[in-house]
Subunit: 154 residues, 2 copies
Amino acid sequence: MEKTKEKLIEAATNLGEGIGLNRAVCQIYALLYLSDHPLSPTEIGKILGMSKGNVSINLRTLEQWDAVKKIWRKGYSRALYTANENIEEIVLNKLKTGIEKRLKYIKPIISLAKENPSHSDENFSEKINQIEKLLSKIEFFLGNFETIKSLITK
Amino acid sequence: MEKTKEKLIEAATNLGEGIGLNRAVCQIYALLYLSDHPLSPTEIGKILGMSKGNVSINLRTLEQWDAVKKIWRKGYSRALYTANENIEEIVLNKLKTGIEKRLKYIKPIISLAKENPSHSDENFSEKINQIEKLLSKIEFFLGNFETIKSLITK
DNA sequence: AAAATAATTTAAAACATATTAAACAATGGA
DNA sequence: TCCATTGTTTAATATGTTTTAAATTATTTT
């Protein structure tokens, strides 16, 4: 592979790792993003020096994020992969999904704490109120997410 | 400790772990956040059933994030700790610092790729342009960060 | 100043995650 | 249909992170 491309992939991978993604996922996405043609899992593995099992696992992860997609070429009947080039869209969607999941989890717990008769503790109920306020801000944010997203991505 | 509080700390910790923070950091912050009075490292360790080494390490991490602060009480000459209650502020500051660090790292690499004479590859220079556009969006965002922050936190 | 208590640092252990290698399944071409 | 090739799953290995326990350092009390 070209030296510059290699460096870019390396840089992107470090970046991704910094925000908690695993190495393989970043490498594969960066490779596909920079490639001008779709690649097969085998090619990906060869180029990146990575086992085919690892390629397989992480391609599926990327598909779930809608960060890459399978395409079919006449002649080839096995799938090739391309990157969804809209990085902002991918990131924002992941963000939204993540926040939603966590909200759903925390809300009932806060409700429970609110109902609970530990009214003697003034500080505690004040803190619960603070958290509730924060949660409703986040919910507002989610409610306007599509608007915010289009402001950013367009 | 009170049952409800315990559950809340547990929930907050799971939440934090979900976004890549370590268990101890979350537990300590949640405990201090919900406590109505400052706590010493020893107390924290005892309440959470955690080694003092672990408390020490993770308190320092939290201090670096400005998520907790040392306070002194007359009579006590050793430091006690309280939570910075403004969670939004903490999160946004961490976000900003993180983005800045990563920008500084990726920018020179992009510049290098741009200078590089791989002009034969039309696709490649197009992709570089895409990334540059994205980076300048992020920079714009950072430039207006204080404004955005005050919109959110106030 | 010495003893007691508290906090930090460190090296090792426990734990978690990512990666591989090998077995298995599916597909395409002879 | 059988062989060759590609992709997936899995169990194990390797790697990285968190936590602890113990040693060290700092602080307070007597």
